[in-house]
């Protein structure tokens, strides 16, 4: 079984559309994260949730809205997609007890291309 899974794996869409990416973890972890990896492979955290509560909200445009229906799921909804949103989006999870030093387990990524 995949520990951290994301759907879809690839997403090609037009500018201005709204899209969602889903993430699920079956590790029993309390904390989940969204990262963005740009075309230069630079990784930056966007959001994190601990047991459905938002704990990190970096300076991300408010077109991006995370939603955590339960602690095993963290979805990312993006409104009014722009060309600059093209990137690979990674979901990750960790135990949640000592978040600063825990191993994070990453999903395979969702490759978003905005045309």
């Amino acid at each position: 079984d995949t520990a951290v899974s994301q759907t879809p794996k690839y997403l090609v869409t037009q500018m201005g559309n709204d899209k969602s990416i889903k993430c699920e973890q079956n590790l029993g972890h309390d904390t989940m994260y969204w990262y963005k990896q740009d075309s230069k492979k630079f990784l930056k955290i966007m959001f994190s949730y601990n047991n459905k509560e938002l704990i990190i909200n970096e300076t991300v445009p408010n077109r991006f809205s995370p939603k955590s229906p339960d602690k095993a799921h963290l979805n990312l909804h993006i409104n009014s997609l722009e060309l600059g949103d093209s990137a690979v989006y990674f979901c990750a999870s960790s135990l949640g007890g000592q978040r600063g030093v825990e191993t994070q387990y990453f999903g395979p990524g969702t490759r978003l291309l905005v045309l």
């Binding site: 492979k41 970096e58 990674f90 030093v101 191993t103």
Partner: protein
């Protein structure tokens, strides 16, 4: 503010040769340090991490890293590289607070020649 620098964007080594990937950090207190690997088309996987104690840390896949406070470095090493080691390698430090935020370096792309 915490930061990580990986000076080498791209490194090519021959299969069987030794490898050292550099990582320099800036951290206010005793650093926690991580190395993650990203294989092509995959997510990231933890190779090893340092919190305290022995400055030489062993990880998975035959990798090790040495913490040197005097040089603010945490270089990753492997004595003999395999073709399957070709990947992107990221050094990381935690952000402030117990949020789980990781600050990643720019990454080093490792190419392995047959």
């Amino acid at each position: 503010a915490q930061s990580v620098t990986q000076p080498d964007i791209h490194i090519t080594v021959s299969e069987g040769a030794s490898l050292e990937l550099r990582c320099n950090y800036s951290y206010g207190a005793t650093p926690y340090l991580f190395w993650y690997v990203q294989s092509p088309g995959q997510g990231l996987q933890l190779l090893l991490k340092y919190f305290s104690g022995d400055t030489l840390v062993q990880g998975i896949k035959g990798f090790e890293a040495e913490f040197k406070r005097s040089q603010s470095s945490f270089n990753l090493r492997k004595p003999s590289v395999h073709w399957s080691d070709a990947a992107e390698y990221f050094c990381a430090v935690p952000g402030s607070g117990n949020t789980g935020k990781l600050i990643f370096g720019q990454g080093t792309t490792l190419q392995v020649k047959p």
